[in-house]
């Protein structure tokens, strides 16, 4: 099968009605605002541009490369869309992609569509924008900023969106946080590397062929700041919330049982996406690494934020 659904699309049935409806409301608000913004920026061009680029992102998700032993990596596209189009247009493009995926391929549910747009379209874009802009500012517009920013944006957007999925499942009572968070987070830290590398490759191509396109995304001044702050808040919130949630899923007894859960639960969870199994790493080691990386994530987020504020103060 050419089209393999990414584990990021939540099917119907997994979210409680409450969570699904709340995320629908937020999504409608943000998408409505983004539609108006994009209309103002692009005018008559918006329909063909957004529609065709959504199709391009979808088609781009089919491109894959072999990682090892028949497994493969591919693209989700939130970061590349954000970098090339700016945050508001990216929200619209991803909304279109995720919407059509749900309607045609049942990749993600219809009631859960609000949540899926929220995770990939809104969180993915906000985090990408925050990371990319921060690195761009740090690099002072040099080319390495493009690549480092692109990689970091792609990687973090995947990881944070996955953490959001895990938290939503936990909030819905469908999957205990102490399993969902490290499992989703851990898997997507690996998937995110592929996303990052492909994003860098795509940026290198665009940089060589049409450098001018790398700047259309910057024409989003005032609203762009809102996305930047939003991305920061989301990234920090999830980075702090997820370990907290995963530490106290269901009272205190989890401590006694946690190791057992991880052992049993991770087996099926890794089977969930056989493409991404990394052989040779025992689950225990993985759990440690996951904890380590979540920590790094927070440090990275905070450091980047601080560096940015300092730069602005001295500038």
């Amino acid at each position: 099968m050419l089209y393999s659904p990414a584990p990021m699309h939540i099917p119907d049935g997994f979210l409680s009605t409450m969570v699904a409806v709340i995320l629908w409301v937020i999504t409608i608000g943000v998408v409505g605002y983004a539609l108006r913004r994009v209309g103002k920026d692009l005018g008559e061009r918006q329909v063909p541009l957004m529609g065709v680029l959504a199709a391009a992102i979808f088609a781009g998700q089919m491109l894959n490369f072999t990682v090892a032993g028949g497994t493969s990596g591919h693209l989700m596209g939130a970061a590349i869309a954000t970098i090339l189009l700016g945050p508001w247009a990216a929200v619209i493009v991803l909304t279109t992609v995720v919407g059509v995926q749900a309607l045609i391929f049942q990749d993600g549910g219809l009631l859960a569509l609000g949540a899926n747009i929220f995770n990939m379209g809104i969180i993915g874009v906000a985090v990408s924008y925050f990371v990319y802009r921060s690195v761009q500012k740090l690099s002072g517009g040099k080319t390495w900023g493009l690549y480092v920013g692109g990689f970091a944006a792609a990687w973090l957007s995947i990881v944070v969106a996955a953490l959001a999925v895990a938290l939503q499942l936990a909030l819905s009572g469908t999957s205990p946080a102490n399993i969902a968070v490290p499992a989703m987070g851990g898997i997507h830290m690996l998937i995110g590397i592929g996303e990052g590398l492909i994003t860098v490759g795509a940026l290198a191509f665009v940089h060589a062929a049409r450098r001018d396109l790398l700047h259309i995304g910057e024409a989003a001044p005032t609203g762009g700041k809102a996305v930047w702050v939003g991305g920061l808040v989301i990234a920090l919130l999830l980075a702090v919330l997820s370990p907290l949630a995963s530490a106290h899923p269901d009272g205190l007894e989890w401590v006694a049982e946690q190791k057992g859960f991880l052992d049993t639960a991770q087996q099926p969870l890794y089977n969930l996406i056989p493409d991404y199994v990394f052989p040779g790493i025992s689950n225990e080691a993985l759990a440690t690494i996951v904890a380590g990386i979540v920590g790094t994530l927070i440090v990275f987020g905070v450091a980047l934020g601080l560096a940015f504020w300092r730069r602005r103060k001295t500038a």
Partner: protein, 268 residues
């Protein structure tokens, strides 16, 4: 190239196919909402809902087998809910000793798990029937009818139209890459390059796809302008829903309402 495999629409001569897309769309959404709202453990209601969706499958001429095959796509996600059997507190069901630890499954946990799996399975089937029995252009009209912004609907339509064109481009790119992915002539040499290099090449393909799409959107825009496009999205008015349609809609929604009342009265 022909990408029929991407289009889930299965032409059949059935009453479900003939039904107004607006009705199908609204009823499917209502069905999924009903499934979502049905409390855990209300098994008789789940059975009634299953009967409803299965009769739609049979009526549509798609066949139960076809729908089940597609509905299984969501199956892997069910594993994400598996641990809940052991983490939810309640009457113990059985224990699994693993290493030094014991896992205890609870009745409530199992009930939660089974109802999540059931909900997902039921909703999935409804969505599959909708997609397989409705041409996407009709679905677009349905979206317009329920008040999704025209601009967004127009983008959905354009994306769907160019999905086939661009996926075709993506497949041709991969085909060209495969044709040049050859082994070295020297024995013992590893071919294929590093993973990072392969990922970057794939990125180049994504970038070129994106650029070509960008430039294509310019040409489409010009073609639209040439035919009088002015930024506003226009469409012919939808034909009004007939009395029978309204009746079906009302009956369907009432039925779902009754099912929910029944479910909450006994299991809520």
């Amino acid at each position: 190239m022909h990408l029929h495999f991407l289009d889930p629409y299965q032409p059949r001569n059935s009453p479900v196919h003939a039904l107004d897309a607006r009705l199908k769309f609204v009823l499917t959404l209502a069905f999924i909402l009903t499934v979502s709202l049905t409390p855990a453990g209300a098994w008789p209601v789940y059975i009634l809902l299953l009967a409803l969706v299965v009769s739609a499958e049979v009526l549509s001429g798609l066949g139960i087998g076809y729908v089940q095959k597609r509905a299984l796509l969501a199956l892997p996600f069910v594993l994400a809910a598996l641990p809940v059997i052991f983490t939810l507190y309640g009457r113990p069901l059985f224990s699994l000793p693993i290493g030094g630890w014991t896992l205890t499954a609870s009745v409530e946990g199992l009930e939660r798990f089974v109802s999540v799996a059931l909900k997902s399975w039921l909703s999935m089937q409804a969505a599959v029937v909708l997609a397989a029995a409705t041409q996407f252009p009709e679905l677009l009209q349905a979206m317009r009818a329920v008040g999704i912004p025209r601009l967004l609907v127009a983008m959905f339509g354009l994306m769907w139209r160019y999905l086939f064109v661009l996926v075709d481009e993506a497949l041709r790119l991969m085909r060209a890459r495969a044709a040049r992915s050859a082994w070295g002539t020297e024995a013992g040499k590893r071919s294929g390059g590093s993973v990072a290099w392969r990922a970057r090449v794939t990125g180049g393909m994504a970038g070129s796809l994106f650029l070509r799409a960008f430039e294509r959107s310019d040409r489409i825009y010009v073609a639209m302008l040439a035919r009088g496009y002015d930024g506003e999205v226009r469409a012919l008015p939808l034909p009004p829903l007939r009395a029978a349609g309204w009746f079906l809609l009302a009956a369907g929604l009432t039925l779902f309402g009754l099912l929910l009342i029944f479910a909450y009265a006994f299991w809520g």
